[in-house]
């Protein structure tokens, strides 16, 4: 791992450790721990999306469906078949991997808007299934009484334990993904994004890599879905609709597509905005989202995370000119 990543990682870990302490001592934000659990769950999805969109250059507007597949498989297996939650989680990832492979092979032959449309269509279909398969999913009235998770016989009750579990997973996945990016596989993905023809000519199995990263991102979304199911205990189809797919993409874009850190930043910001800070706008919050997206796309096309190197560049330049070495 590069030095920059290591420093950022240490800072993030430190913040994550300090956060519960802060929350426990400030009454006004005591419920923020709950929001942070959701940030963690969504981060699992957006990190996968960042690999898919920012690194491999493929768009998906259907990731809410994979999130839902994980959640519903977990929920159904636990509620209707009484399988243990951890086993159900594995079941969810398997189901999602198979579905993602089936969807990915034909649709990743498409490019740009067409791929977006294909994944969007898939997401809509899955959402209809969640709504209509009332026997299985409970339909629009939802699936309830999903049991919580237990670790070594200890039930993970309360926000703090779940916070620790979710964020440990996020950190593990983050390290895994950072490793992938700085490897032969990551270079292959980025080469596809920059020039598929050249990647082909260098012997990169472009089609295989695109499908693989699509499946990997779907599996991460499914994992997030299972955690969501066990944390919330209740599933309703509206949590997994097109709007949520779009919001996931927006998290990645606002934070910075070409960086996993950007995905985390975007997820954090948009989750807090959506769950907390935009409530004052009531139904008009969609306008604020639009404004944020517009601002980022126009002013910071590389996402919010690109502000950091820009600021440090300006700071360094400023120091140089103070020292009298500024020439340009």
């Amino acid at each position: 791992m590069s030095r920059g990543n290591l420093i950022t990682l240490s800072a993030v870990v430190l913040l994550l450790i300090l956060f519960p302490v802060l929350v426990a001592n400030v009454e006004a934000i005591s419920h923020y721990l709950d929001v942070m659990v959701f940030v963690g769950i969504f981060s699992l999805i957006t990190m996968g999306l960042s690999l898919l969109m920012g690194y491999a250059g493929q768009i998906s507007l259907g990731h809410a469906a994979f999130f839902g597949l994980g959640a519903y498989t977990s929920g159904i297996l636990c509620v209707k078949v009484a399988v243990s939650p951890w086993l159900a989680m594995v079941g969810g990832t398997l189901v999602t991997a198979v579905v993602a492979y089936g969807v990915g092979v034909p649709s990743l032959k498409l490019k740009g808007h067409y791929l977006a449309m294909a994944t969007l269509g898939f997401g809509v279909i899955v959402n209809i299934v969640f709504n209509e398969e009332v026997e299985l999913t409970g339909g629009p009235s939802g699936l309830s009484n999903i049991p919580g998770l237990k670790l070594f016989g200890l039930p993970l009750r309360g926000e703090l334990l779940f916070y620790i579990l979710v964020w440990s997973m996020v950190l593990l996945v983050l390290i895994f993904c950072l490793n992938v990016i700085h490897s032969r596989v990551g270079r292959a993905l980025r080469s596809i994004h920059d020039s598929e023809v050249a990647a082909d000519a260098m012997g990169v199995e472009t089609a295989r890599y695109k499908v693989m990263i699509f499946v990997l991102s779907a599996v991460l979304a499914s994992l997030a879905g299972s955690l969501y199911a066990h944390y919330v205990g209740f599933l309703s189809p509206s949590s997994f609709n097109l709007l949520f797919s779009i919001r996931l993409v927006m998290m990645v874009v606002v934070g910075g597509m070409h960086s996993l850190w950007g995905a985390l930043l975007g997820t954090w910001l948009l989750t807090f905005l959506g769950n907390e800070w935009l409530h004052v706008f009531k139904d008009f919050d969609i306008l604020v989202y639009g404004a944020i997206l517009l601002f980022v796309v126009m002013a910071l096309p590389e996402g919010l995370v690109s502000v950091v190197p820009r600021l440090s560049h300006m700071w360094r330049r400023g120091r140089e000119s103070e020292g009298g070495t500024g020439g340009t």
Partner: protein, 274 residues
């Protein structure tokens, strides 16, 4: 006398193109093109714009599928295979309009060239298994060697997209060499280069041949072509009109008419870049 049967494959020929056809709708880009490239040779393919030279490269590397005919490498048919397989078999190339991975560093570009020479999968990469880390170090070291070979070692951390055109062309060569090809296809490597850069390119092409890599060169710069190539094949409107040594090609009436202009402008140097 015209040969009635397809030419027999010569054992010393590394690449052989036999009656190659390619049509795009009604346009016949290549018609019955047959020629061979001996192992260890530098062979130039020349012809006016639109003659089908880049199409030929796209067919050999599998980016396009031929409408007819056979391409073989070392006697093994490669036409109809996917680009990745052909790359694995030892065919590499550069592109006329430079297709680098612009947002990656110079070194990373060359490391992508080592893709088929390394194994790491998502799992071994994500978990940073010890053998994968060793492989990564080897890949990096080999990539640096290729950068040194083309003279770009000191630019290894630069973003590839930020390099000037001349260096981008060299980087493409380094990336192609990193695949350890048997045969290297260079598509107008001198395009956009100045005289000094072109001289260095000629020297580089000879050094590549010195590594026992066969070179096929598509090029408009006649000085370079005449200087480095052992053999030249001339195509015009998708058909071969001449083949032979540089000095034979210079005097070939069909070539002078079709390519260099009826007046024989080339002799005056005016035909340098057609």
């Amino acid at each position: 006398m015209r040969e009635m049967e397809p030419r027999q494959h010569q054992p010393s020929e590394l690449l052989h193109v036999d009656s190659l056809e390619k049509s795009f709708g009604g346009i016949r880009a290549l018609q019955g093109l047959t020629f061979g490239v001996p192992a260890g040779a530098i062979k130039a393919v020349i012809g006016p714009n639109g003659a089908g030279k880049t199409t030929l490269f796209n067919l050999v590397t599998g980016i396009l599928l031929p409408t007819g005919g056979i391409i073989s490498l070392n006697g093994e048919t490669i036409s109809g295979r996917r680009p990745q397989e052909i790359a694995r078999l030892g065919v590499s190339r550069t592109f006329q309009n430079v297709l680098l991975f612009g947002r990656m560093t110079v070194l990373e570009n060359v490391m992508v060239g080592r893709h088929t020479r390394s194994q790491a999968s998502v799992l071994s990469a994500g978990l940073r298994l010890p053998w994968m880390r060793r492989e990564e170090l080897r890949t990096r070291a080999r990539a640096m060697e290729h950068l040194e070979f083309v003279g770009l070692a000191d630019r290894f951390q630069e973003r590839a997209g930020n390099l000037p055109l001349g260096e981008q062309k060299l980087l493409e060569v380094a990336r192609a060499l990193a695949t350890e090809p048997k045969i290297l296809l260079l598509d107008e490597p001198a395009g956009g280069l100045n005289t000094r850069e072109t001289e260095r390119l000629a020297e580089l092409i000879r050094r590549i041949r010195g590594q026992e890599i066969t070179v096929v060169l598509v090029e408009h710069d006649m000085n370079l072509v005449m200087d480095v190539s052992d053999d030249i094949v001339v195509i015009s409107f998708g058909q071969k009109i001449a083949e032979g040594k540089p000095r034979e090609i210079k005097r070939h009436p069909a070539v002078i008419e079709a390519y260099l202009g009826e007046e024989g402008d080339y002799a005056n140097g005016a035909g340098q870049r057609v």
